[in-house]
């Protein structure tokens, strides 16, 4: 939609507007807007330092260590990496046979708890302040404490939904963050009846709260529809996992792509053959690759992943309350995929409700507390691909083994990379709409953040939940001299070093 802004025809004559950092631990980010003489946005780029280092780091390590190692990629969704890596390493232990039904139930439970808690963090802690108070609200209020002060019930529910997910993770892995549990070949230990009983205790309440929060997210979106519809707008195809018969599926399944018109252009694609579908392009100005769908070429192959993709792509959701919500969402889209960047939060809360309902089903399933958790086979394979739907979208781990069972090579495509182009496009959209050509305003800075956060909280600092992300916005003339600068300090105060 804004591709013409990405590459300026005459970059020499442009001003540079630098916004940094948009990130902390998970990668340092920076937004560059190149302006022409008239102050119009000619070029917009979101720079992210990505974790490619991990692929090298994994090389030469024993494969059994890898799932636990790679979960250090992320402090928000480590379990997603633990599980994708476990899946990718299963063939090294099991060959082409499947993990036991109990191991699968335990992994699915772990995964849904992870998506539940991560979505809750994303929506309640990071996004809801923007949505509730507006993009121009005082940063001192526009944070989770502001939500707690003005809408205590909502804020507390968000915290408790997240806590429930974390507690399930703790019971399954020994720790709330970075525990162990899933391993190549299955799961390390069975679940005790006592642990299951404690998970069952609160799940009905959690489902009720998720349903209520979904209503709020939907109402909030629809009330501001006129503004949100075009905010950070972009138009893409969508990629996600679905079951063989087209239902949403987070842990397993096949790859599906719907184009912007809602046509199924890829379906039933074996995840192990992801490389036939996805090609990664390198751009000189970014550390992060730009994947596209190879069969549709560079331009036609633009896609996004995440809750919006999952809800747009599924013919049906597996649980009743979430399915009713999906229908309403789909009706809003008029049968076509919903594209709005901020509709991602609405979709995210449908996704969250689906997780909560699925957790209840899994807790009731008899195989969950079985004792056969680890499989073995003498006929093992040397290469494996694990694909799951992580909270922010499709996550791909791919490993090949050396002779001595260490990792010979690894390829990871994380959700953020899939959405790289989408985020760039959304940032360009915001810049084109809100930059007045002269002054970097607080409003512009805030809106760029809001657009990025619609996709990915990993890129915004965790302390941002407290309204404390330091941010520098700088306009540089073509000769490199800053002409305008706006700084937001750690305490949320703004200052200008230059006019």
């Amino acid at each position: 939609m804004h591709e013409h802004l990405e590459q300026a025809s005459q970059p020499e004559g442009l001003q540079r507007l630098v916004i940094e950092p948009v990130s902390r631990v998970e990668g340092h980010g920076k937004v560059t807007l190149l302006l022409d003489d008239a102050g119009r946005v000619q070029q917009a780029r979101l720079h992210i330092v990505e974790f490619r280092g991990f692929e090298r780091f994994i090389q030469g390590r024993p494969f059994r260590e890898v799932p636990t190692l790679v979960q250090r990629l992320c402090g928000i969704c480590p379990v997603s990496h633990l599980l994708a890596a476990s899946k990718a390493c299963d063939p090294f232990v099991l060959g082409s046979s499947a993990i036991t039904p109990t191991a699968k139930a335990l992994r699915r439970l772990l995964h849904h708890a992870q998506v539940l808690q991560s979505n809750a963090l994303h929506f309640f802690h990071l996004a809801s302040p923007d949505l509730l108070f507006g993009f121009d609200a005082d940063p001192a209020q526009r944070n989770v404490f502001g939500v707690l002060a003005t809408n205590r019930e909502l804020g507390l529910r968000g915290i408790r939904i997240r806590k429930y997910g974390q507690e399930v993770i703790r019971l399954l892995t020994g720790k709330r963050v970075h525990g162990t549990g899933s391993a190549p070949g299955g799961f390390l230990h069975p679940l005790s009846l006592a642990a299951r009983a404690s998970m069952q205790q609160d799940i009905d309440t959690i489902i009720d709260w998720c349903a209520a929060s979904l209503q709020l997210a939907r109402d909030q979106y629809l009330a501001n529809e006129a503004e949100y519809r075009n905010f950070a707008a972009t138009r893409s195809a969508f990629l996600s996992l679905v079951t063989a018969d087209g239902a949403a599926e987070l842990y397993d399944g096949v790859l599906r792509v719907k184009d912007a018109e809602g046509r199924l252009i890829v379906d039933g694609h074996d995840p192990a053959r992801y490389s036939d579908l996805i090609r990664e392009e390198v751009k000189p100005w970014s550390y992060m690759k730009f994947p596209y769908l190879a069969p549709f070429g560079h331009d036609g192959g633009y896609y996004r992943v995440g809750p919006l993709a999952r809800i747009n792509n599924a013919d049906v959701l597996p649980t009743p309350l979430a399915e009713a919500a999906r229908r309403e969402f789909s009706d809003y889209g008029g049968g076509k995929p919903v594209q709005a960047a901020l509709a991602q939060h609405w979709a995210r809360m449908i996704d969250t409700l689906m997780c909560a309902e699925t957790i209840r089903e899994l807790l009731d399933a008899p195989e969950l507390t079985g004792s056969e958790v680890m499989g073995e086979s003498s006929d093992t394979l040397r290469e494996g691909v694990g694909v799951i739907e992580a909270p922010r979208g499709t996550l791909i781990h791919h490993y090949r083994l050396a002779e001595d069972d260490t990792i010979a090579c690894a390829n990871l495509i994380v959700s953020t990379t899939h959405n790289n182009r989408g985020m760039n496009d959304s940032v360009r959209g915001v810049a084109a709409q809100y930059f007045d050509g002269r002054t970097i305003t607080e409003g512009l800075l805030n809106r760029i953040e809001v657009a990025i956060r619609a996709y990915d909280p990993c890129l915004s600092c965790a302390t941002h939940a407290l309204g404390q992300m330091p941010l520098i916005v700088e306009a540089l003339a073509a000769d490199g001299q800053p002409v305008s600068q706006l700084i937001r300090h750690a305490d949320g105060q703004f200052s200008r070093a230059l006019p």
């Binding site: 030469g60 390590r61 024993p62 059994r64 260590e65 636990t68 190692l69 979960q71 250090r72 703790r170 019971l171 892995t173 020994g174 720790k175 970075h178 525990g179 162990t180 549990g181 391993a183 390390l188 230990h189 069975p190 679940l191 005790s192 642990a195 001595d404 069972d405 260490t406």
Partner: protein
Amino acid sequence: MNGNDFTFVLDGENIRFEPGQTIMEAATQAGIYIPHLCYHADYRPRGSCKLCTVKINGRFGSACTMPVQPGMQIDNDTDELTAMRRRLVQMLFVEGNHYCPHCEKSGNCQLQAVAYHVGMTDSHYPHFYPLRQLDASHPDMLLDRDRCIACELCVRASLESDGKAVFGLAGRGSRTRVVVNSESGLLGDSDFSADDVAARICPTGALIPKREAYLRPIGARQYDLRDIAHNAPPDPPSPEQMP
């Protein structure tokens, strides 16, 4: 206590000992923990890690090698010694590549446990990031030299308990490496077996069995539950341990 003949003073406490015992042995017998890494009750002390350094009548000495004399005045648990031990442990951490967050020995590792015991919260020194060889050639055992602290326990255990000579140390100072006695230098070509005593002796995650990774959940491991000062060496993992 009749006379001072068979007692000495450790941190102000009168301790009985048997003639010929080292300070370490006498203290251990009395239930007092002196931090150590290269010492193991079953083997002759080597005195290389210096972690057991105590103050004997005002002078530094290694508790694992020094025989007790009647009437010795020994300081062990003092701020000064703890601070020195912390520095020693920090040096061990930066000399190797010790990534506790994903190490399968985490929670069962004596190096990590001692680090907690002496209050280490950062590495203090710049990391060396040495390049060391991982040896995954053995079917049942893994030798990850990144995590080796050159304590020589595997060397001693293989020699003295197993009647083999699978391991040796080569090089000097921080360049010391554990080497394998086989033509190729690979563990898989040696006569090492997972049933050897040496296979269970390593205080860190350098020499570990394959396929047991993370069997006992993090959080339910030996030193997760109790400080190393109150701990026996780790039990073998038991699968149904859940927090």
